[in-house]
Symmetry: C2
DNA sequence: ATCCATGCAAAGACTTTGCATAGTA
DNA sequence: TACTATGCAAAGTCTTTGCATGGAT
């Protein structure tokens, strides 16, 4: 079993828990369902709000205690977009190598993958004496709409 | 005047202050000297410690109030290396497009630039309808020493 | 039955801010 | 002189943690 895509993220995380002899509680189940039930990036506070809506027994402490497990499993990645709070990206479970373009004007975020980019990064790293473990590329940019109209509809959302 | 390298970072920051009609106080001068007097990344607390060593009148509040000015000027960049605190990199003043490789085992950080990488990023961004404003690439990797010996001397530094 | 997980509220770590005073332009 | 900057300490914000209880395996 090498194909990471063979099981759904939720199942893979449950396997991760089992592998560490950690228990699958109803709160954790709710948090997992919530985290992998969206493609959106979320903050700790948002995850709490969403999970709490599904199950009132999910507390802030448990969310904060589960988040490190999610990132440790590699299925969710902690992201810093220069805001005051951290975002968590659940899409690494299915797209382990994706990158982000952030529109500076409307904060729209587009995810993309590039085999060519990955190879170039590997090549450069090798030349420098490193073997790549993970990439993290963020491009800050102005989007088409901004270029054409000088602003974005989404601005301020 | 387009050549960003024409003036030293310190002078460029003083120009930035002047342009905003902000004052050059002795505390700010010390902070600037300190920040641009190193090539090392630093945390807010380190910057405070170093600056305070040069001038006892530099307070934590002023450091925290100056840091946003440094990043706003574009001469220093806020970096998140996944630690609990943020790092500030003063090398963007002289190398606006550099990237980072972080050794996961010893935390060694190597900075590098690549015209090819930059071009590829521009190309991809354009295809997606964005015009690039800034890049931010971090590669996490294992270093040569780790590959050869299974560990790094620097580990735990 | 064992031992991990949870909620709550207190404690922490890092930043920001109000206010009276000092200092630059 | 006018107005920004500073230090100090209090206040915030986001996270972590101790403890007694509950619950998964």
């Amino acid at each position: 079993m090498v194909d990471a895509g063979a099981k759904c993220p939720k199942q893979r995380f449950m396997d991760f828990l089992a592998g560490k002899h950690l228990r699958l509680t109803s709160q954790r189940r709710t948090i997992i369902d919530t985290a992998f039930g969206t493609r959106r990036h979320f903050t700790a506070e948002q995850l709490l709000a969403w999970a709490h809506r599904r199950d009132k027994s999910v507390s802030r402490a448990t969310v904060y205690r589960t988040l490190p497990l999610l990132t440790e499993s590699g299925l969710v990645r902690e992201m810093d977009f220069g805001k005051d709070y951290k975002f968590y990206d659940p899409n690494y479970a299915e797209h382990p190598h994706h990158n982000h373009i952030i529109c500076q004007d409307c904060d729209k975020i587009v995810e993309f993958e590039s085999e060519q980019l990955k190879q170039l990064e590997n090549q450069i790293s090798q030349r420098l004496g490193f073997s790549v473990q993970a990439h993290r590329l963020q491009i800050t940019a102005h989007c088409e709409e901004f270029k054409q109209r000088g602003s974005c509809k989404k601005k301020g959302e």
